[in-house]
Symmetry: C2
Subunit: 787 residues, 2 copies
């Protein structure tokens, strides 16, 4: 897979990656042209990834607390009232995230149900009048227009709104900032685009987009509004840091899943198992609060809609696909079909991952050609989908209604409901139209329908399955907001129900449950989640007695899938080139020390405690490092040590250096500053600022000769490792503590030894980058595997 | 609370703690009588805690991978087959943990239902014959004997089997080893004791004990059997380390909760939220597998028992307290009683925590007096309980049966069932007997009973509530295996149902649901869990529509409870003096550096790379440190550095030094050893051995003059912090990475600076210990609060 990282991209992305790496400047490389000693290989690391649909520079996030003097002062001076303000605001924001996500989810649901509903009603009308061609044109045209709306918005205004957004959120919570991911434009385009794409009958869900929407809301609330119109409310300054924003986005992602599936516990667990990298018990609780708010909002709107004020939205409860009316009584023999479902789900899931990967690479080539091509691709998929949805039901035979069903239940002609009449005579229904000529949600509901063992013809299910396999592969990569959950559920339920029909004579498990288990197994086979999927399915179907078999199916499907390829989200992360740090280090990382890693990098650039402005400007202009160790030589240590010692003060961030230059906080002579001098000039707001660029700073030649006291802004407590530390352990530390920079210090103590011999970043710890600098490790890689 | 740590204890515990600390040897103290420079205060740390019921030395666990040469060789030489063996065994053990926990849980259930069932049947028989005194004597005597059995086993054979065991498991997973906690004797006593205590009708549950049983099984399986009769199977060597045992015990704890509540997802989440400190996605999956096995086992036995082969165990499904037959339709006004339940639950829960704390301290004084007193205390509680259970129902009035109920449903006379006849005439039932003269599980089932709004008289419920408040406080601390879940559920359901009766005219929520919500709120108020409780209640009651209100109740109750005191498990951990490391550092820890902490400790004792035997023996005999930094002076660094540098090799464990001395792996001359020499003498099995004591080692005076090459056994990759690191960040590192020792290295680089200036252990990072060495921080403590 390595060779195609960064291939899932659009126009601006050249064919040869290595060229990009050389042309673009590496923010952690050192171009101060210092002599390179005893180095025959270099650890080059690319900070490029595909964000939205274009190659962008990505930055790491500062999840570590930057404990410099200013922070400590600010923190010490926080009164109890301010602490209470912070706690109050934290919970208020969690409440608002839940509330807004719930409201927007309701809005999307209302819009989709009404737009798609009226569209389908009209089509059904034409069919009843046997005006088949008019019906086809009507359906195709409306789907075309809706897709066009969604695609044009994504292509022109917010390329990051296309796709599900979950991989980027996963990367964000792992410590990788992706530009334009959580902006106001993205949010609005995502909402409208999602409504358009789902109403257009495309084979995609609103689940992934809702997770992204929840996260956008959380991020915007945390920063006080869109980038250009932020509310500069004093209270919000507490949230002006990456740590608190991370917590908020976790709440947002959970709320999104909760709103998508009406599954509050499932939402929390989804964030915990799949999305989040760090997790605290306190966060579990806050996330849970957000999802509780979402459920209350959804519930309140359902109460309103139950009285018929929501157009075609109609009645409905919190359970989306209720199968609780089936008594689950299974015998030992039933284990065979259950295991079978799990195995097939795992195989199909990993096959889907494999094929989707190929399709995304193909789409990359098309999308590279420009905006028009992206738009055309989306519209082609829309036309193909419409043609299939309308045309295929004509292939199915009309089935007479079961006489035990009341007349109102079979056949139906409305926008939703089971046993659709379509082109059939009275008292007959078209089973394929029941699945195809409806919204995706209703299709799931119909295929999950229980106690209807003979509703679907195997031939119709086969067509349905084949169609959704094709659509599932070719719809995901187009330039509209698209979720993966629903396509996989549709595919899985079709194969599950097919299997149920095949096994009919052996077991007495209900066909609807087969569909549910099939959907669960394919989800596990593709997405590789366990507990969260189990709870989501429980909350979707409201059948607790199904839990043990769901668990077994999920475990088998995941095991089978894992033996073929990684999960779909990991594949996408890889394709996009996002530097995601895995939980487990590779086994060969134990054979490499961080010292060897540091040797393969250009030497570290350090600054002095009180540094000349000229040198600071030089360093900032000529390197792209984001932090510099602050080191003083020739100091006299406090007690009993020889003179001429060197001292490690800490680490200073590029952003803070730029701030100092911008504010022109220079000293005429080389001296330490007093606490009040710093306080006068800098606030904690300034420190949170990350936007400044060295190119925007103008320094006169007079000023160049002045000094800066870096120490008040230096993080005096950076995390460090000794050079003999293994890369495996350093990576565990890096990920567990949530670092951006890790200093390497020598294991020798002597005069003349530099106190810092290297600095590691996220990119240096990625196995791909290490393996290209140390190719001999790659050879041992294939042999060694472990936990 | 600080002043009473280590008070919850038995006989051997003296009154003044400080005396104990001075008499007992501190394993991390240094008594080599080196001069103490510039130290006016010392950071003393006590490694004592109450384990089971006596003061014991506790040790930290090595969750960090000890990367020494031998480990690396062993690890590099692992073939692919061995890796597969390891993975296979890992899953087999997870399977066995689930299987055995499920079997034992079934055994306990069968035994309890049959013993308690026949006992109650006999008592009901006497009452029907109006032989009230005989009935009383029969009940009291059988309860007395059962309690005696449970208590005598706990007191004489396994004091660690008393109580729930959850706090100790929590501590184990946090990195604190408590002796005799997971042995075979403990397991057997816990099983028999739990059967005895629960059958005796005491106000305690089998839930906590089942968690402990699951963990014991996991630990015993991992080490290949009881301490004295371990299977020396080669495959099991992979599990002979603290990390893999930690994972197994996590599986065991989840399986226990799952077996107790028949709640597989709840079990996993309970471990995740309450018990475990570290968590990985891979572990989530394995734990889930274990609980799935438990559910399948339980389910299989239920199928068998449904055909009537289990005596009085009778029929029953996976849902313990099913309330799914109630339609939950709530209006906006219903929010008032829901909020009320939450608030009262929080207040009552924290009040319960507070009072239980006092009672446990009182019991400590009694238990100190000896085994006989412990036994007498248990028996007194048993007598009191029996008297109340039998006598109080006579206070209740007989209620005529509702005419809508069939004759077989009201009144009942069997061992279980609602509407018990007791002393009432035909067609009448005694509502208090329905709750009291039954097993605890049935009592919960009866009080949760839905669609029976007028079953219970408020007066009866009040008596029930008051009785269970008293019993809940005075039963927990006695010397039998006891869980906290069921007493709290009983108390909570009583008050919930009472509140339901009080609010009857305002809302139309079912009385049974009030009981469920009351139980949930009191659980949250006392144990402070959220998501896991929510899922456990969902799985207990099988009513998904209840989920949103359960969430709100839990959130409110936890918030209210947290504003008064910590959770009950934290209180017990504190009482026992277990050095649990919290997730969040105290705010004042930012104002202290690890360098200051190291100054307050005796100087660090280091060893050389090749060390004289005499010095090693001396150090081991005169200190109780568990690890020593290995440092060489006067080395010549590889390139460009001045001679006379000092080098940090790493950290060597006491256990490994003892091993070297035991094996007499000495060198005649001072030289480095070859790889094969080490391999010949030591296996990875030897390195996992932790039992050896220096007192058992005899070294001749000839041998004393020889040398040991420590380097092959030295962990070359210890985690380090620079002395300027704040204690807050060091603590985050310590906990997140799971350390036992953290080396402090100087921030200066110069000749003559020692490469290690201190070593931190778990005890040094506990706020209580720090505050006693730095009293001025305590003053600022009260002012500062944060996230």
């Amino acid at each position: 897979m390595e060779e195609d990282s960064n291939q899932y991209a659009e126009a601006s992305f050249p064919n040869s990656e290595t060229e990009v790496y050389l042309e673009e400047r590496d923010p952690e490389s050192n171009s101060l042209h210092q002599p390179l000693l005893k180095r025959n290989r270099t650890l080059s690391s690319s900070p490029l990834a595909i964000v939205g649909a274009k190659v962008s520079h990505i930055e790491s996030l500062d999840y570590e607390i930057n404990e410099n003097d200013l922070f400590k002062q600010d923190w010490r001076s926080r009164s109890e009232v301010q602490v209470l303000q912070y706690i109050f605001l934290k919970w208020t924001l969690a409440f608002l995230v839940g509330l807004l996500t719930g409201l927007i989810a309701t809005l999307i649901n209302l819009a989709v149900e009404n737009i798609a509903g009226y569209k389908l009603l009209a089509v059904v009308g034409f069919i009843q009048e046997e005006r088949y061609l008019t019906g086809f044109i009507y359906l195709t045209a409306s789907n075309f227009l809706l897709t066009f709306l969604a695609a044009i918005l994504c292509v022109c205004f917010a390329p990051t709104a296309a796709g599900p957004g979950i991989p980027e959120i996963k990367a964000y919570l792992n410590g990788v900032d992706t530009p334009n991911m959580f902006g106001a434009t993205t949010l609005i385009v995502k909402i409208i685009g999602s409504i358009g794409a789902v109403s257009a009958g495309l084979d995609l869900g609103k689940e992934g987009p809702l997770v992204h929407i929840g996260s956008c809301i959380a991020s915007l609330l945390g920063q006080g509004g869109p980038d250009n119109h932020r509310i500069k409310w004093r209270w919000l300054r507490y949230f002006n840091n990456d740590r608190d924003r991370r917590d908020l986005i976790t709440c947002g992602a959970s709320s999104g899943v909760c709103a998508a599936f009406r599954a509050p516990v499932g939402g929390v667990l989804f964030s915990l198992e799949e999305v989040a990298t760090w997790w605290r018990s306190a966060l579990l609780w806050r996330t849970f609060f957000s999802t509780a708010v979402v459920v209350v909002v959804l519930r309140a709107f359902m109460e309103i809609c139950n009285s018929g004020q929501c157009g075609l939205f109609g009645t409905g409860g919190l359970i989306m696909f209720d199968v609780s009316n089936v008594t689950v009584r299974y015998r030992l023999m039933d284990i065979i079909p259950i295991v079978l479902i799990g195995i097939i789900g795992g195989v199909l899931g990993s096959l889907y991952n494999h094929l989707l990967h190929k399709v995304l690479r193909l789409y990359n080539l098309i999308n590279q050609k420009g905006k028009l091509h992206k738009l055309l691709l989306s519209l082609t998929v829309s036309l193909f989908t419409s043609a299939c949805l309308y045309g295929l039901p004509f292939l199915a035979k009309c089935t007479p209604c079961d006489s035990s069903l009341p007349d109102s239940a079979c056949p139906t002609n409305g926008r939703s409901g089971n046993f659709k009449q379509f082109n059939c005579p009275k008292g007959h229904y078209n089973d394929l139209a029941t699945l195809l000529l409806t919204t995706n949600d209703d299709a799931v509901r119909n295929i999950f329908s229980t106690n209807t063992p003979s509703e679907y013809n195997p031939f119709s299910l086969l067509i349905f399955f084949a169609l959704y396999c094709i659509l599932g592969l070719f719809t995901f990569g187009i330039a509209v907001p698209s979720g993966l959950f629903l396509p996989i559920i549709l595919m899985g339920s079709a194969y599950g129900r097919l299997l149920g029909i095949a096994m009919r004579s052996y077991t007495n498990i209900d066909q609807g449950l087969y569909a549910v288990l099939g959907a669960a197994s394919l989800m596990a086979g593709s997405m590789r989640m366990t507990v969260s999927l189990c709870v989501i399915f429980l909350e979707l179907t409201n059948n607790l007695l199904l839990l043990p078999i769901t668990m077994i199916v999920l475990l088998i499907a995941k095991t089978v899938g894992d033996s073929f390829n990684p999960s779909i989200y990991e594949i996408i992360l890889h394709l996009k080139g996002l530097p995601f740090l895995d939980a487990n280090p590779e086994p060969w990382m134990r054979n490499l020390t961080v010292g060897e890693l540091a040797d393969a990098k250009p030497p570290v650039v350090t600054l002095c405690g009180v540094e000349k402005v000229a040198h600071v400007v030089d360093v900032l202009r000529n390197t792209t490092h984001n932090a510099f160790p602050v080191v003083d030589g020739g100091v006299v240590p406090p007690v009993g040590l020889a003179e001429g010692a060197t001292e490690l003060h800490g680490l200073i961030l590029r952003a803070h250096l730029v701030q100092v230059l911008k504010k022109k906080w220079f000293l005429r002579e080389k001296r330490r500053t007093e606490e009040w001098e710093v306080k006068e000039k800098f606030t904690s707001m300034d420190l949170a600022e990350r936007e400044g660029k060295i190119e925007e700073v103008a320094v006169t030649s007079d000023e160049m000769e002045m000094y800066i006291d870096l120490q008040p802004l230096t993080n005096t407590t950076p995390f460090t490792v000794v050079e003999s530390m293994s890369v495996a352990k350093a990576m565990v530390l890096f990920r567990q503590v949530g670092l951006r920079h890790l200093l390497i210090i020598p294991k020798y103590q002597a005069a003349g030894v530099p106190p810092v011999i290297g600095i590691l970043t996220r990119q240096d710890l990625r196995s791909y980058n290490i393996l290209s600098a140390f190719p001999h490790l790659a050879r041992s890689k294939s042999r060694e595997k472990g936990n």
